[in-house]
């Protein structure tokens, strides 16, 4: 797929692979340029993404400790804000 003159058909053919992150940068760029202006491709891409998400709809529990690390990072990187009613300043 040429980055310049990627036709609708070329983009359409790689939409599913794109939804699986299974394209190289050139294909990805072609998709990203075409899709915003093409309702059909937007719809198809959304459908493929939902199917892809279903593949990952696993029940495995998250490892212990990750949420605590997220909280610590939130406290470190966003020091002034309102969290759970605690006023810490406006959001940027």
């Amino acid at each position: 797929v040429s980055t310049v003159d990627a036709s609708h058909r070329d983009v359409e053919a790689v939409l599913a692979a794109y939804a699986l992150d299974a394209v190289d940068r050139r294909d990805a760029a072609a998709v990203e340029r075409h899709v915003p202006d093409c309702p059909d491709c937007r719809r198809e891409l959304a459908a493929h993404r939902e199917a892809a998400a279903a593949l990952a709809d696993d029940l495995t529990a998250s490892p212990a400790g990750v949420w605590e690390r997220i909280q610590a990072e939130i406290d470190r990187s966003t020091p002034r804000r309102e969290v759970q009613g605690r006023w810490r300043g406006p959001r940027s």
């Binding site: 699986l20 299974a22 495995t60």
Partner: protein, 188 residues
């Protein structure tokens, strides 16, 4: 403290945008298991997967407006982000070595058995039926791309088939999968 148990995805995103940490906690509670499972499946190791989970939710905290409820569920948004990030990590220089090792291991064993094992481990019960309905070649192409983290070009090389064939297999596979899931009453 507000209770977000019955909160919609859209409302959660709005609350996160107002810095409500409890809303992020609820998004995490609902989705972290799937997010972690996917990252782990693609990356093959727990430590990298945990980092990706952390990044995914911190990104939601920083940019909740990037999630558009009209375009799908929060879960599918987070899973797409997670998969993309995991692929970045996988394709980055630092993990190239591990990737090569993993591929060598994959080739050393029979491709089809590995692929089946990947599905068995990674896919939830209700999705397995839909996956089982796929023709073998489509199932294989989707698994190598999604769980293996390969581009369709790499998949074509691995299988010794034209790139166009792999593109079609992935496209037809995902379309069929979606139809089966909807037919089985799975909410997408």
């Amino acid at each position: 403290m507000y209770n977000y148990d019955d909160c919609s995805d859209a409302a959660l995103a709005v609350a996160i945008g107002r810095w409500h940490e409890d809303a992020l906690a609820e998004a995490y509670r609902r989705n972290a298991g799937a997010v972690y499972a996917l990252a782990r499946r693609v990356l093959g190791d727990a430590a990298h997967a945990e980092e990706v989970v952390q990044e995914t939710f911190l990104r939601l905290w920083q940019e909740p407006e990037k999630f558009d409820p009209d375009r799908g569920s929060l879960r599918s948004y987070l899973l797409a982000r997670t998969h993309g990030r995991a692929i970045d990590v996988l394709r980055s220089e630092t993990s190239r070595h591990r990737r090569e090792e993993r591929e060598a291991q994959l080739t050393a064993e029979a491709g089809y058995d590995i692929e089946r094992e990947v599905w068995d481990l990674a896919v939830a019960e209700h999705v397995k039926g839909a996956v089982a309905d796929l023709p073998e070649d489509q199932r294989q192409a989707v698994a190598l791309a999604y769980f293996g983290g390969h581009t369709y070009r790499e998949v074509a090389q691995m299988l010794g088939v034209p790139e166009g064939t792999v593109k079609s297999r992935i496209r037809n596979g995902l379309s069929r999968l979606r139809s089966s899931l909807i037919g089985a009453g799975v909410r997408l």
